[in-house]
């Protein structure tokens, strides 16, 4: 089985094969012999290449994965995401751009309406969380196709706020 995780912008492939004693695991091609002497929901004990065993606490929320290695020099917690199947479009792509919340918070103001033309850099939504205010601005000139949130609504990180369709092929 192959598992893929997005770590700091790069996608890492982890292959897991059952062997007699445990598992043969390869992380980006590097092989490890792993046994799991103990496991329960939420955690597992790892014996990797015969090194002293390490406790790992694990959790998942949507595509997010969380791992803590309590007591280790680099204990984390480490957070990574299971990449979506379709590769993300980056840069000056023309077409609907979904503007998402950079942090969880509450929508304080929606400054545009569907059908409205916007300039690049124009503030579209004001988000507030824990006394901080964040402006969500248009990444390109275009037309607002859809406003997906309302004032007072709580939003999560990554949630779509507004769709803007680009009118500027140069991006």
């Amino acid at each position: 089985m192959e598992y893929r995780y997005e770590v700091g912008g790069a996608v890492v492939s982890v292959r897991v094969e059952r062997t007699g004693e445990g598992y043969a695991v390869t992380v980006d091609g590097q092989p490890f012999t792993v046994r799991v002497p103990l496991q329960r929901p939420g955690w597992l004990l790892l014996d990797i290449d015969g090194q002293p065993q390490q406790l790992a606490q694990v959790a998942a929320h949507g595509a997010q994965r969380w791992v803590a290695l309590p007591g280790a020099t680099a204990a984390g917690p480490f957070e990574f995401a299971v990449p979506s199947v379709a590769p993300r479009r980056r840069g000056a792509a023309v077409g609907p751009a979904a503007l998402t919340a950079q942090m969880p918070g509450v929508v304080r103001r929606v400054l545009v309406a569907a059908g409205e033309a916007v300039e690049r850099g124009q503030a579209l939504v004001l988000l507030e969380a824990m006394k901080m205010e964040i402006r969500v601005t248009a990444p390109q000139a275009g037309v607002v196709r859809r406003v997906a949130v309302a004032v007072g609504q709580a939003v999560e990180r990554g949630q779509t706020l507004i769709d803007v369709e680009g009118s500027d092929p140069g991006g």
């Binding site: 799991v36 597992l44 606490q57 998942a60």
Partner: protein, 510 residues
């Protein structure tokens, strides 16, 4: 005044839980209040009774004086504790509580009001002989001309600070490097102050370079007895928000005469304010000249009170309740001693790698550190949610050890064994701070984070973390929302028997 037998806790999160704990020990009935966003929160579960205040917005709940008083009446409590933040430094609230015939666990309203105005506090401290940062405040009712401001600024010298009279927490504050930036800073600070505090008045203060933040815990009773419970050093800050605090202060350990002078000034400040109950006199110290200046007085229990409790062995909350009930302080100044060294690390739900944006979401797993000399004050447990509506403080991890070096090692080990999954926190950042050479050498100033750790990035996950994730996904072990992990209060694996584990776990060997 009669002893307090029931207490309304006008707060939430870890401080509410801390106050409920003290009530338990004293046999005091604890009444919690909560907003719709906090239904079922730990402080609600822990209290004897809980009253819903209203919607999540603080103005509709934790800041709503009328609703808090209604909750106090409905539950028949005889006292109200404001905690910190929210209404804790609101003189009107203290007055309203007392006008309702209840005990307000805190200082007299007049002391709160006087200390709430930075300029009134400065004037009072100057009169009491407590050094304040050299500065310029326009006489009341007067609007200085641009030229008058410029002359005052020149007399103080650059760089300097423009501060809001009604300000706090760094809002309405500007650092001005030179004359060309002055007018813009005055206007900007006034604008920010007007919107944040409803008062546009600003004043000038000399900028103290290489500053250390050192504060004294003071305590007064209703019988004119005021003591100090030594100091806390809180130089590790980001945007005037404290991150790591310790007691005693390493700087004052090295300079006992400075400690003596500062503790005298702290007592003079408390006496000048007619202070009762717990308060904190904050100073900044120029680490090269060792000159110290009054910064402000916080008229409430501080977030970082646990480290004072650890080194003095006193319970500040119990003292607050006893003094508020009219009791005398049960000890003299000479009986207060400091033993060992304590460090508090504030675990915030924030992302240090991304501009310290606050984070929120379900707490999929929270395993607090344990062991000798480790104290955890948390407002949450596994299965709770971190709401975007309130302060980002998730937990305080405090340690106590014989020496500073041991305390640092203990704090690092405690942080390394803390597990928080589901919400991004500053855990790894706190460890980087503890390991920073300037912190280790006890030479850090309030600039440490801005100067040396502004671009900090978390360590990349080791292969072990990726192996753990893949195997957990493979075996279906990931803790998820709604589930409780094995370390939580209610384990969900009932029929587990390690002796029957197929993977061959053997006790005492591999």
């Amino acid at each position: 005044m009669p002893a307090i037998r029931s207490l309304l806790i006008a707060n939430r999160g870890e401080i509410a839980v801390r106050l409920i704990r003290a009530c338990r020990e004293l046999g005091v009935r604890a009444v919690a209040v909560y907003s719709e966003a906090d239904a079922g929160a730990l402080h609600v579960r822990s209290a004897d009774q809980a009253v819903l205040l209203g919607p999540a917005a603080p103005a509709e709940s934790y800041l709503n004086i009328e609703r808090l008083l209604a909750a106090a009446r409905a539950t028949g409590v005889d006292a109200v504790h404001p905690g910190y933040g929210f209404l804790s430094e609101n003189a009107d609230f203290a007055e309203a509580v007392r006008a309702a015939g209840l005990i307000f666990v805190g200082p007299p309203a007049a002391a709160i009001r006087q200390m709430g105005s930075k300029t009134a506090a400065r004037a009072m401290m100057q009169a009491a002989g407590v050094p304040v940062v050299p500065g310029y405040q326009p006489p009341p009712g007067e609007t200085p001309t641009a030229q008058a401001w410029a002359e005052a600024a020149r007399a103080i010298g650059y760089p300097l600070l423009v501060k809001a009279v009604g300000g706090g927490g760094g809002r309405g504050m500007r650092i001005v490097a030179g004359p060309s930036e002055l007018s813009e800073a005055l206007e900007g600070a006034a604008r920010e102050a007007a919107s944040a505090f409803g008062e546009a008045a600003v004043f000038l203060e000399q900028y103290v370079p290489r500053a250390r933040h050192i504060e004294f815990q003071v305590f007064g009773d209703a019988h004119g007895h005021v003591v100090h419970l030594f100091e806390r050093e809180c130089s590790i800050q980001r945007r005037y928000q404290k991150v790591i605090e310790e007691s005693p202060s390493p700087l004052l350990e090295a300079h006992p005469a400075l400690r003596a002078a500062m503790s005298r000034a702290a007592l003079a400040a408390a006496q000048a304010a007619g202070y009762q109950n717990a308060g904190t006199v904050e100073f900044i110290v120029d680490s090269s000249s060792l000159d110290f200046y009054f910064l402000e007085m916080n008229t409430r229990l501080q977030v970082e009170h646990p480290i004072t409790e650890l080194v003095t062995g006193l319970d500040l909350v119990k003292l607050q309740l006893s003094v508020a009930g009219g009791e005398r302080l049960p000890f003299e100044q000479a009986e207060v001693n400091v033993r060992g060294h304590a460090i508090e690390c504030r675990v915030y739900a924030e992302d240090p790698a991304h501009s310290f944006y606050p984070s929120s979401g379900p707490l999929l797993s929270f395993v607090a550190p344990r062991g000798p000399g480790v104290r955890v004050d948390a407002g949450f447990e596994t299965g709770d949610s971190i709401s975007p509506h309130y302060d980002a403080l998730l937990a305080k991890i405090s340690v106590h050890a014989a020496t500073r070096a041991e305390a640092i090692a203990r704090a690092d080990a405690a942080l390394a064994s803390t597990v928080i999954l589901g919400v991004t926190t500053n855990l790894a950042f706190l460890r980087a701070l503890l390991a920073h050479p300037e912190f280790m050498a006890a030479s850090a100033t309030t600039q440490l984070i801005d100067k040396h750790l502004a671009d900090w990035q978390p360590p990349a996950p080791p292969a072990t973390a990726l192996i753990a994730a893949a195997l957990a996904d493979h075996l279906g072990l990931m803790a998820a929302e709604g589930a409780r992990t094995a370390n939580a209060a209610a384990p969900i694996v009932e029929d587990y028997d390690p002796w029957r584990q197929a993977d061959g776990f053997r006790l005492g060997g591999r």
